[in-house]
Subunit: 363 residues, 2 copies
DNA sequence: AATAATTCTGAAATCGATTTCAGAAATGAA
DNA sequence: TTCATTTCTGAAATCGATTTCAGAATTATT
């Protein structure tokens, strides 16, 4: 007779109910129980029901480790975002998880803090866990990471961008074209003296770099190329938006339009403008990017670019689910962004730059 | 001779490197390789190094499914939050993941959308995955869920609250005492006509309920109990903050202080106040809860309660890591909140309620 | 140098579910 | 009623890493 330790080797309180226990209760073989669970249609209905009853009686749940070992599928996907502090990433992850959950997948999450080395380490740890699919953000990753992906032999998709290097499929928007359109819109309003605030300090942030390029290209095409001092580089915090605006207006007090690569920066810039006594948009037009919840609630409401974060998350889930199943998948998915014109942008005051005066109602 | 299919049964491109392959290359048994990996100190150094070299050469990583099957430990924790759209949850999850990662754990994430049934289903799916620990938000959960936890025999901790039902340990702040303090502060400023905006529509949200109770208790103690019409119930959106304020001031135009259970609601209320031509804080004091990044940047900056979300996340991680290891753990952890007095609150204008006048600079 | 004590290593069993293969039962045909 | 099909079910092998147990190799002791 086997010795049955009080505490089983796995340290659980009560020994786990196994498929064999169900089989014994139901007077069938473990194979049949397994079939009831995985291919119900090939088991005689009455037998199936009987087994099912016992499964419920014992509240049996199969051991996913054993299952994964045999099948080689964990039914698990991993996502690595730069940070969850940014609403659009949180929103995307939430949509991703919801869609995966509908298909019986669970989601591992990790964050890289915009650090490529950390991204690599986190991915390595996820790959070791045997994930079936990978979601990344953005298109710039180290070659080390790309070879890890290849070695893992698991489908990947990168998000929030329209294309990525190394043949990795992408789902997202064309960031460059979005800011280009935004800039052209401001040009049409009559602006000629621009400034740009871009969060391009992290080398891995190709979204913001593309956005900055869109601005630069549109202005070059219009014969108004930005001087280096008209471009303020920042990280992604609200406070940096404030200081960036201050610096920009110190160097170029006659600026009439400031294009930010992020709503957070734009909101910071607006706060600073207000503090400096500049009326937005009369004295200064400010635009953002992302269309976070707050953008519409600002005073004045912020002109920005709406990013379909939830759609990106859902799309990434669908892509991976299909790819894992071996179904055909598109090479990339380009989603539409939406320019949202609100009242933080307007034509410039005729000729002159923003005068430093107290806020007032006389405009 | 075995047939070696081109595509292995697990569908991977190149067949996985197994411990046996390493063993063969290194001329040792699989047992030794395993020991090198798990108990390096009991293997003769030179042998250990030789095996290690081959492990690296073949870039072998062990199959976590097989490992988990044998050991019963997945080195995985699951967290279920109501939503990631709320910054404090995103921040907590991020801190949780960072701390877990340091200890070699990976994090499953799921969201419940404040729906107890969904929370249960997501947890069930996580438990089936064999997670070693569970992080929940708040203290009100169905008894179904509690029995699932018990059956899983896995440590749990609930977060953002100071106590939970059913003997579940908690880490967080005392929400009720925080709003009570806030209310007492407003009483000291001289306010006597209060309104409350609380996101208490979701039955599972015991944080906001506790916050509302704190307000009510403080006011009752001061002999100024709130009438039902002075309490506006909302969900957690900014737009609801706006409409709530409008409704409150319709019923009680002489209100001088509005206490919100969430910054999001408070920010909405401030936006609406501005639109109605009410100067904050002169005509109306408004306070929030959470101290989101934006709160400090509002105009005027928002008086609120700062919640140590990152600390909660880290603490939850530490708790579970210890509990899983069998180390002693505290029954609960009470963290300090911080009242942040900013300029959205001030003494009431002597006697009168907020007059409906256009915003102006004459105050 | 011979034996005892100690340290290492390998063979084999094990974790729990899945699936192949073959045989049993049930159905249909003659 | 008997034989040929078809449909179900069960025994046993398998996934890959871990660990026990016992035997081999090494070192210490007299």
């Amino acid at each position: 007779m086997d010795k049955k330790p009080v505490i089983d080797p796995k340290g659980r309180q009560q020994p786990r109910v196994k498929i064999e226990d169900v089989a014994r209760k139901a007077n069938v073989s473990p194979a049949t129980v397994s079939r009831v669970l995985n291919h119900p249609d090939i088991v005689r209905p009455e037998l199936r029901d009987r087994v099912m009853r016992h499964i419920n009686d014992l509240s049996y749940t199969r051991d996913s480790a054993a299952r994964a070992l045999k099948s080689g599928r964990m039914r698990t996907v991993g996502v690595i975002v730069p940070t969850l502090a940014l609403g659009i990433f949180a929103e995307g992850v939430e949509a991703l998880q919801n869609r995966l959950s509908e298909s019986g997948y669970t989601l591992f999450i990790a964050n890289s803090q915009y650090d490529q080395r950390r991204e690599f380490q986190e991915l390595q740890s996820l790959v070791e866990r045997g994930i079936d699919g990978i979601v990344l953000v953005g298109g710039s990753h180290g070659r080390e990471l790309r070879s890890l992906i290849e070695q893992a032999g698991v489908p990947v998709i990168t998000t929030y961008v329209s294309k990525a290097g190394g043949g990795i499929p992408a789902i997202g928007i064309d960031n460059e074209s979005a800011t280009r359109e935004m800039t052209e819109y401001l040009l049409r309003l009559g602006h000629v003296r621009f400034g740009a605030i871009a969060n391009v300090v992290a080398t891995s942030n190709d979204r913001s770099r593309a956005r900055l390029e869109g601005i630069q290209r549109a202005l070059s095409d219009a014969g108004l190329p930005l001087k280096p001092t008209q471009i303020i580089k920042a990280d992604y915090s609200l406070a940096q938006g404030r200081s960036a605006l201050r610096q920009l207006l110190t160097d170029h007090p006659d600026t009439t339009a400031v294009i930010c690569t992020t709503d957070t920066l734009a909101i910071g810039a607006m706060a600073e403008a207000r503090k400096m006594g500049l009326i937005v948009p009369t004295a200064l037009s400010i635009t953002g990017f992302d269309d976070v919840e707050l953008a519409a609630q600002m005073d004045p409401p912020l002109t920005t670019v709406s990013v379909p974060a939830a759609e990106i998350g859902r799309g990434a889930a669908d892509y991976l689910i299909n790819a894992i199943a071996g179904s055909p998948v598109p090479k990339s998915v380009l989603l539409p962004y939406r320019l949202v014109m609100r009242s933080s942008s307007a034509p410039p005051r005729s000729g002159e730059g923003p005068a430093r005066r107290r806020r007032s109602r006389d405009v």
